[in-house]
């Protein structure tokens, strides 16, 4: 049922979604924390910028990324100048695009979760000898658990389903940048419905199982909460 290209696409998709989610959590967490706590006057501008990539259709965003990251673009040009490899049509390029596009889905829930903790638990932890980083991980993160869950699920799922950006800056190269969503799209596009149903069904089922596991696990942990 699944040919080699499909299998490769699945592997790339998982790798892309996992990498993107990981990077988003890594970058998004401190950023969301900062947004939740800064008293900077103009933070509302930054908050607006975070949500901005969303309003562009993905293909169009992908197009602009292509221009920016391409050899004639500002980023790509600079990179080339410094002797780096170009980013477009590579897995790295895909990751950059996905990270940008899925950013708000990770940053916003985290920011909300951090803000709702309030200052008290962190103060308590400080009086119990926990350094800022220590208390961040042992207090803020567990208390913001539901925010992390939302962020991770939205970020991961959105990256799996994302397609326009990835198509544009990835170039749909089988085995390298062809992800599952594009593979399914291709099948639908050329009327290979049977194949598309299989892939979609499998994707849905796998995602459903994964999400269910995540939520069930979350439920088990949260039983400890008040």
């Amino acid at each position: 049922m699944l040919n080699d290209a499909d299998l490769a696409a699945i592997a790339i998709t998982l790798k892309l979604a996992a990498t993107t989610t990981l990077i988003l959590l890594l970058l998004g967490t401190p950023f969301a924390w900062w947004l939740a706590h800064t008293r900077w006057r103009y933070k509302f501008m930054l908050e607006a910028v975070v949500a901005l990539p969303l309003v562009l259709p993905p293909t169009v965003l992908g197009f602009y990324l292509l221009v920016a990251l391409g050899p004639q673009g500002p980023v790509g040009g600079l990179l080339e100048h410094l002797g780096g490899q170009p980013l477009v049509f590579t897995f790295t390029g895909l990751v950059i695009g996905s990270v940008l596009y899925s950013m708000p889905f990770v940053v916003q829930p985290l920011q909300g979760a951090f803000a709702s903790i309030g200052p008290r638990p962190m103060e308590v932890a400080a009086t119990l000898r926990a350094s800022p980083l220590d208390r961040f991980f042992t207090v803020a993160v567990p208390l913001a658990r539901s925010g992390f869950l939302t962020a991770a699920v939205l970020g991961f799922a959105h990256t799996v389903g994302e397609f326009g950006v990835v198509l544009m800056i990835g170039g749909n190269i089988p085995g390298q940048t062809q992800v599952l969503s594009i593979a399914i799209y291709d099948h639908v596009e050329v009327l290979e419905y049977g194949h598309a149903h299989w892939l979609s069904g499998g994707l849905l089922l796998a995602s459903f199982l994964m999400l269910m596991a995540v939520y069930a696990l979350n439920r088990r942990f949260s039983l400890v909460r008040p």
């Binding site: 477009v88 050329v190 009327l191």
Partner: protein, 229 residues
């Protein structure tokens, strides 16, 4: 060697078969990236690693040629698309396409005339018949010819202008009812290919596409073939 070729979505089935044959006979490996020609053009301009482009039209290959991105002299017409008016239901479409004037259909699907050559052809047909304006409110546009087909196939649009290649398969008969639109009603949908990077394998593939064996295959999938000079 391994070569990588960007191909317009409508040509997917055909080129896959060509690719398999080519690999068997030459020992090279070909991979394809399918997509809209507009995207491929943008990607090629920004450094996409394709060896060749099989476009859905003439315009983009011409541009690449002019801009000096395509290898000089490599551009050629590999196939000519045929437009049909199709409905998956029997007797909806008559052999003269009168249904367009008399029909009580709710939706007519066409590809976006702006984006897809098949859409442009559909418009030419309707303009010729003088019903382009009248049908505006009943027309739904697919982003490409694939989507247009889905509109019709799913029954949401009763009929639509699609590519013959979408319903014609060498091994199967056509379902539903169809009007094969005469070539005279629209300017030919030439699909051109260009070579983008120097590669013996790619040149070999382009040559293979022009072989009689290939042309036979293309005709089987519903394309007209250019007169080979």
């Amino acid at each position: 060697d391994e070569i990588h070729i960007a191909v317009a979505s409508n040509f997917t089935h055909t080129i896959k078969l060509l690719g398999t044959r080519f690999e068997a006979s030459s020992g090279h490996k070909v991979t394809f990236s399918f997509g809209s020609t507009g995207k491929h053009y943008a990607q090629i301009k920004h450094g996409a690693p394709f060896h060749a482009l099989f476009a859905a039209d003439v315009k983009r290959p011409e541009l690449l040629d002019k801009e000096g991105i395509a290898l000089p002299g490599s551009r050629f017409t590999y196939a000519i698309g045929k437009v049909v008016l199709w409905s998956p239901i029997k007797d909806v479409v008559d052999a003269q396409g009168k249904v367009l004037q008399d029909g009580t259909f709710r939706h007519l699907a066409i590809a976006s005339p702006k984006l897809a050559p098949y859409g442009r052809a559909a418009r030419q047909v309707l303009v010729q018949r003088g019903i382009w304006e009248a049908l505006q409110g009943r027309m739904v546009r697919g982003e490409n010819i694939g989507q247009t087909f889905q509109f019709v196939k799913s029954g949401n649009a009763e009929l639509g202008f699609i590519a013959l290649s979408q319903i014609k398969h060498p091994a199967r008969a056509i379902e539903g009812s169809v009007w094969a639109v005469p070539q005279s009603l629209y300017s030919p949908i030439e699909q051109q290919a260009v070579l983008l990077r120097e590669s013996d394998a790619a040149r070999a593939f382009l040559t293979f596409v022009r072989s009689d064996e290939s042309l036979e295959i293309m005709r089987g999938f519903g394309y007209a073939t250019p007169n080979v000079e």
